[in-house]
Amino acid sequence: MAGSSDKVLQVELVAADRLVWSGQATMVIARTTEGDVGILPNHAPLLSSIIEGVVDVQTAEGETWIAAVDAGFLSVADNRVSILAERAEMSHEIDLEKAREELERCKAAGENDDEAQEKLRRAEARIRAVERAS
């Protein structure tokens, strides 16, 4: 695969129960525990944990795909990028109304434990994904 695609990244966005998106891209932006990273072709091999957030993929055709992901991993090697998350959704699959409701509910619950925080971040990420895409 490395030989044939020197200038593009082969991207796979994988959720636990399905392959969400795969294709060629020129740039991938994801949020790791250390902050946002942008991956361009010929990036050094990297294995990093990512947190709930938005993943930006610029395809080889110049389109931009945006997905909301859960905490997971990003691995880069040989111009192959895999993003693994337990849950991942493309922006066009997300129901904005439902995501907003979810966010309201999380905020209203006002719990402060890790689980509530995680839910809150997840809801925010989903809304951000939709807003960025539109």
Binding site: E12, D17, R18, V37, A44, L47, L84
Partner: protein, 308 residues
């Protein structure tokens, strides 16, 4: 005689309606197997990438992780038994339970205590009936497991594995190793109960050996190898459990289809047999009636001849 014909007719009728039910169940199971197989296939990329990542970390860093450490003197083992929620699947549940019993015996023979974790109502009922304690049971999803359930089970098992045996305050029962017993889906015709050790993890490179072109590159780890491993390994465990649940679901449906198919065939045979007997009885009845009439007529004729 006429009564028994009616009796047989009633039996034919009830067998026929039973056949309709088993036939419907067979068809439902058949259509769901395809879905279950698709789900298993859809989950494969995640498992593959995760395995790759785990072997990458394991190869390039000599980090020891709590989940990979072999306890020196294992005294207690946990077994997760994956059974079905519903019956009518032939020997599916009983064969997985038999395999589990074998593993329990083996572990006890090695001097380990065994804690039971069960998924599926059948397994729960089996141990409850025998009044053996179950640490935890999960039910209600056996033919359509979701990742959330796998994550929940995984979290419970990891908590038990990581818990400290000396720490009597914690309410989690500590164990030194974790095994899983599930049914591996080999084909539509053969499913095989399998027992594997889940924890401590032995990091293996998937099922197939990596080929030369697949050599792992030198990764940079962010934030650090140990932290990446920290969040990677629990997910790896959960994905293994998810895999087991998906395999078990496909096996359950295949077993049910097979069982229902033979039930339908048996019903067919039974109907045929009953029909034959019923026809025999009907003919016997007719023959008897004729001979009675003939006999009656003869008797009348004899009586008339005698009186004249």
């Amino acid at each position: 005689m006429a009564l028994s014909v009616r009796e047989y007719r009633a039996r034919i009728k009830s067998t026929e309606s039973m056949k309709k039910i088993t036939r419907a169940m067979e068809l439902i199971a058949a259509s769901r197997i395809i879905k279950a197989q698709q789900r298993a296939q859809a989950a494969a990329p995640y498992a593959r990438e995760l395995t790759r990542a785990v072997s990458a970390v394991a190869t390039f860093s000599n980090v020891d992780h709590a989940l990979t450490l072999e306890p020196e003197d294992p005294k207690k083992a946990a077994i997760l038994i994956v059974t079905s929620d519903r019956g009518l699947a032939g020997a599916y549940s009983s064969s997985v339970l038999k395999e589990a019993e074998r593993l329990i015996e083996k572990l006890k023979g090695e001097g380990k205590e065994v804690d039971l974790y069960v998924s599926g109502r059948k397994g729960e009922a089996y141990f409850k009936f025998r009044q053996r304690s179950i640490m935890q049971a999960w039910t209600g999803f056996s033919d359509q497991p979701t990742y959330d359930v796998a994550a929940e089970i995984g979290a419970a098992l990891i908590a038990a594995f990581l818990a400290d045996a000396e720490d009597s305050e914690s309410d989690v029962a500590a164990v030194d190793e974790v095994h899983v017993v599930y049914t591996r889906f080999r084909s539509m015709l053969s499913q095989e109960p399998t027992a594997v050790r889940l924890l401590p993890l032995e990091v293996v490179e998937g099922t197939e050996a990596p080929d030369k072109a697949d050599l792992l590159p030198l990764y940079e780890f962010e934030p650090s190898p140990s932290e990446v491993l920290d969040s990677l390994l629990p997910r790896y465990v959960q994905s293994r459990i998810f895999f087991a649940l998906l395999q078990a679901a496909a096996s359950e449906l295949a077993a049910r289809q097979k069982a229902m198919k033979s039930a339908t065939d048996n019903a067919d045979e039974l109907i045929k047999k009953y029909k034959r007997i019923a026809n025999q009885a009907r003919q016997a009845g007719i023959t008897q009636e004729i001979s009675e009439i003939v006999g009656g007529v003869n008797a009348l004729a004899d009586a008339q001849a005698g009186s004249e």
